[in-house]
Symmetry: D3
Subunit: 278 residues, 6 copies
């Protein structure tokens, strides 16, 4: 495990494993990983940078310390952006740009080409739900709980939960109840509804398993993995026919890859194939 | 509990609770709440009126008496609309307008800004399935059962089930089987597949719990709740990126609300905030 | 049971039941139903032909012999299509057309107007997952397992899995994990996540039950059944409001059917109605 | 010409011609047809009512007196809607509903099933441009001029101009220049760019010609005319393939009309066919 | 010029020029090219076949004899399809399939990868307008005239005019007037509104010029030409951002073509490049 | 006129006028403004920076020296990006990212909130057409000519022309002919088809007039102007109803601006209003 000089952030710890796995940890130890503007910007920059780093093939996101996060940092005046201006329209203009910046940080998990496994323990509050639904695969510990907290701050979630949560869990009734009431959803229910797809006794077991899955993904053809993520994102947002049409064009180039004969050869010779980076 | 003079309908009973909760009951005691044109029109008018009443913050819909409903009222010649005209095209024209009217009554639950909890017991037949899927949250008793009955009448459901059911339960295979066979789905399966998100022993317990949930919702910031419902509806029907863009514009105004400082102050002072109506 | 001369294929066995049920079996006994180009073309032609045959009201697809399929046939050089040409662009052009042909074969299950029940036992590998998600209802035996195998060949699935699987199982996290890792999903998990909606001890029980369900569907009004499938497909790919609008136009003609008075009369007289073919 | 008791409005004059043509005039003689809330509501109600009146087959909209309109009525505090509330979010909520009401009045021209010919003379300011672009066919006199005036009031047009004008005139560059500068476009340029499709020396000639065209339209099969308008609106807002699919469903009923054999018979016998109302 | 044995149709004459240009003529000399079912099917098959023939690089469509076409052939009972069945729903079902077949024949011009120049003289009635708007480039003689005739038959056009005409001419007002009134539009107006982009004194001059343009197109890189047509069709039906995204994927393969270095070399050496077929 | 230190680029000259107008000139004097990667990146950065500079209210883009541009710079190996990699799939992956970067530079004109006037003289080749169609308003001199040159390089345009040109000129037939043949379109035809909306004898007159228009725009309420551009872009890419809905939400905040009372007061007092920056 190396701590790449390329990935130094104030509020994130990044570990690069030689197999092409990056492990990103939320890291604000004094504030229980409370989410402030600086952390959001770090997430945005970190995942955009990882996304352009073809030596990285899979990513894990978890929280350092006692909890995934303690939620939004009230010391940071996030929600007051744009206030100085006295004109409502000008404030609205500034606020919209601010929300779009925030959204782009959460969406960085979705837009980065490599799969992102989000491994969560203890508290997953408010924007942390927005954040984790932008990942590809979600794991949780038995003591984890999930709270769409925005309603208790007097606002509707605006950085991803309302868009992605219902599609992630496939249960409209539950998604709405969580958003309207702000109640906690505990690990069992989160597992049952599919928000998390594996449940672990301890954080350590979870991280170990996440690493194992990440290594499996990192060992596969990056043409296959990156294409699958890209096309899954595209297809979620389009009709089946449009998804198929786009996929046909995409694969008209990608099927010309050397990874396919390599894979078949590996399969025939019963030896794992090794694929070069994208 | 008051019975508002504003909400008098032949086929619905409406109770207004002082906390801002409206409880609407299907009410055709002699016909086991069979759904006829007059009831459909009452639903349309009632939910449109509730939707414009900013003193109402959450709504419950249930069935008065022994069953949620006994299904469509065959004494009402619903399915014969447009028949008098002898020209097929002119009949089609009239029928389309009639279907659109009917759809608008079901969709009134979805379009009204406040969350709607549909609490169902015993029989939920045919159009009742269309109706309940247009609500936000669904509860059911252990003796409830759900039947997409249209196939047995020789028609495809046309007032919402085909659009909303697969999205609500997140299981295409099951939705299709129900629609093609017209079989009953009992409470356990309905709970397992997510059509209903809570299961109750008795109707009384269900109504009590629905009221409790409705009161919780009614106590929250109406800016937050109404925005969440509006944005959930919008986001279900658009790509993630389009949902995010629309949300950013929406919240550019909504984040300027007094409810946010009120909420934070309440949070700091550990006293529940009180929010004015929309 | 008759083996219609109309439905003779090298790689499929088709049985026509007098009740209007067609049972299609993948049939390459020497190759464990491995999927080659000829089989794909047979599927395309067979389901397009069934789709135009109004005497057929429901279809079952299963695998002859020991397994649903052993996956793609490596003896067939599927993945090398377009190779002879030396220009990358011209190869891409040819490959795109080839993928679109392949997609059209899988989508033939979805586009044929009658409901298709896919009944699977033992191995369901790679393109078999694409194939089964294009069906309407999926059944599986306890020894069945499902593998999104493409990643191990160095490519992203391009004939339906990425488009349909997440919508079928309603769990994004799981769908992505399966696509990225290529791991087996066994029958229990497939049942739990909704990929299959019934689980059977043996293949025989499964086929018997599938036939029973198919016969039930075949006994219903074809106007109702065919309309329901068509509108479910349409509504999956459109917003709720667009789905409703299209449905209203569709039913403006379909509600003028003789099947409705027939159904009501049957209902009144407690005798099953008999409906003529489409 | 009769002045139907069904069509009495404070701010509109409606003349019903026996051939099935309605002529609606903006009518606020003391205010040069300045557009206030009452007039907008009259437009909304009038066109919705006409839309349900199958004896009406074509509609003309023009302005009574010296000018089509003098623009928005500043005495009416349109732009201050929602102001009383002191909370920005609540004002935004009210304003949105108010804009949607206003939009629905303009769109009433587009949504009413019959073709609407808008015949304009002299000033066509601000919301009058929104209004006229919602019509089907536009005529103008040589002294007419068109001004997207909103920019000079400090706001973007929000009741239709930005949506429909570029599609109507097919020139993006010009549409943008008009919206950004608020300059007058005179009749010649309006004719050249296609905003109006006929140019007349006098208002009298224009009305006469509009009536002639309206009578021609009213003499045609209402199935054909109403279908064409409906499908043109739908197709403008969808891809070509989606427009074709919707049209095929629509016409599957409409081609069963008696108007087709009537038309063919009339054609053969060289006598005009007479069609009954929708 | 050769008359390819591959392109023999009863109602079309096809001439293949050695430069890769196909000239298709409507050919029913005894019926003035009246459009019947057999001709429609010939168009469908012919353009689908041409679309798969990579030796063909550009296509011209014109009418043999005195007129482009005399319109729909009333001797053919096109509009009576589906009539035998007595049930309205079953007739509607058949009619929809028939319309979709007809649409697919018209759309064959749009879907075939090569550019299609439609060269028209004298009468262009009814479905001929549907047909020509599915082409890429339209030329006309000074004696040509264009009539959206469907309204006079009691139906809305359903094979392309309502979808494509407004997009082709960029004038909504004019498109609607033509559809509602069924009036003739003569060559000058057709040229002015952009329906045709060149105007010719005689049919001979027109065909000669069309051939010249077709030869120019046929001499270009087929990768460039076929990609441009495909992407123009796609972009017309999607947002600018979606069009750009799809184009980027498409060109990620196409930019690897040998045609680019060939083109640059030709440019440098001032010699025309020669490109191999697709 | 000041040359802001904030806007220093190697290949662009930027002049800032005190009224809030920025004049950007393509500036590669030794290469006749040939477009290379460095210039594209300068455009991307410059327009993104201008877009965030609220002191700028309108922008002009023109070409320094003898011609707008001489087209793509063949000395720059644009079209060879991604070549080093030997795997087709990996090259395709790199090329797609490169095209997306290039597209984002062109789209920077469209995405920047202020209106952009593109003033063109003499040659407007290849990517220059992509570039100018991303602007809001286009002016041209009588000696200007426009060439969709990509076809002669063996590729389809991929940075905007195929998406925007047909929507800008509203003539599908012409757009396709230009793309397939690569012929020059001279100023007169460009004016007639609406590609440019004003025609000038000399470059000097054109720049003067562009500055005049830009100053007019800069004097208007920036809330009104920026909202109009944003909503025109949105509405071009959505259905009319979706455009209206989005506009209503947008203006629910923007109508609360101080610019409206300022405007009305200015109007009443017949004195121009002064608006603060966004």
């Amino acid at each position: 495990m190396s701590s790449s000089p390329k990935y130094q952030y104030e509020n994130l710890k990044v570990h690069i494993y030689p197999e092409g796995v990056a492990h990103v940890e939320l890291y604000r130890p004094k504030r229980l990983n409370a989410i402030n503007e600086a952390l959001v910007e770090d997430i945005r920059v970190c995942f955009n940078t990882l996304g352009q780093d073809s030596t990285i093939r899979a990513i894990i996101l978890s929280g350092h310390g006692r909890t995934f996060t303690s939620g939004i940092d009230f010391k940071d005046n996030f929600l007051m952006k744009g206030e100085p201006d006295t004109d409502v329209a000008r404030r609205a203009y500034t606020k919209r740009l601010h929300i779009e910046w925030f959204q782009s940080a959460m969406s960085a998990l979705e837009k980065c080409p490599q799969p992102v496994i989000v491994a969560m323990h203890y508290g997953v509050y408010g924007v942390a739900v927005d954040l984790c639904t932008a990942g590809d695969i979600r794991y949780g510990t038995k003591d984890s709980f999930y709270t769409v907290k925005e309603v208790d701050l007097g606002l509707a979630p605006d950085v991803g939960t309302l868009q992605r949560l219902p599609k992630v869990i496939g249960s409209d009734s539950l998604a709405r109840e969580l958003c309207f009431t702000g109640r906690n959803m505990y690990a069992d229910e989160a597992y049952k509804c599919g928000l998390i797809s594996k449940l672990f006794d301890t954080k350590e077991e979870m991280i170990e398993d996440a690493l194992k899955t990440a290594r499996v993904i990192a060992s596969k053809s990056p043409v296959a993995v990156v294409s699958s993520k890209h096309l899954l994102n595209y297809s979620r947002d389009h009709s089946v026919d449009e998804g198929l049409q786009y996929t046909a064009v995409w694969n008209s180039a990608m099927l010309q890859t050397e990874d396919i004969p390599k894979s078949i050869q590996g399969f025939m010779q019963k030896k794992p194939a090794h694929y070069s980076n994208l």
